[in-house]
Symmetry: C2
Subunit: 108 residues, 2 copies
């Protein structure tokens, strides 16, 4: 019984939609996640939300929106998951966008 790995679907670079990316980034909680990941990949368990009481199903859904837009990558790692920003793909597809969003979100 080769058990199936829980690999989640990610859009190809060429399939990323600008409006989807903008929408994913338009939520404060999701934007905060992106900012954490800007510092480098993180295990999901170490990626904290503003309110620690937020249930894991909600956290999982936030990650889903970011993943389906192509903003983050979510891959299995040991017992948990490794989250990372799709820096290169975003830069190739939408040059300068992520950088301007990150620097704009930094000074608020």
């Amino acid at each position: 019984m080769t058990s199936e790995i829980t690999e989640l679907p990610h859009p190809a670079r060429s399939d990323m939609q600008l409006t989807d990316v903008l929408f994913a980034l338009s939520d404060p909680e999701r934007l905060a996640i992106v900012r954490q990941l800007a510092g480098g990949p993180l295990e999901m368990a170490q990626c904290h939300l503003s309110d620690p009481a937020i249930p894991k199903s909600t956290k999982s859904h936030l990650m889903k929106v970011l993943r389906e837009a192509g903003v983050i990558r979510n891959e299995p790692l040991g017992r948990g998951r490794r989250l990372s920003l799709r820096h290169d793909d975003l830069e190739a597809r939408f040059p300068g966008l992520l950088g301007s969003v990150l620097s704009a979100s930094a000074e608020a």
Copy 2:
């Protein structure tokens, strides 16, 4: 009877919220409006939507979302309204953001 002019409220530059701007730009129809205005101010009647059958109340609402986020300015002009992109304010508050969005939306 000095009749009241229909001046609509616009957020001050310092009150603009990044997530509101991203949300406003995350809708294809609104993004298309912004792209038209990138060419310079336009009378609202000359700013066309993808589908000409869309009612004016809907068009007005699209403009409202853009205006309240601080993306566009909407001022009375003669019988109609003059729409313009708040280029300078956006650039001052979120440097590079509008430019990257516009160039990203151009190549799709």
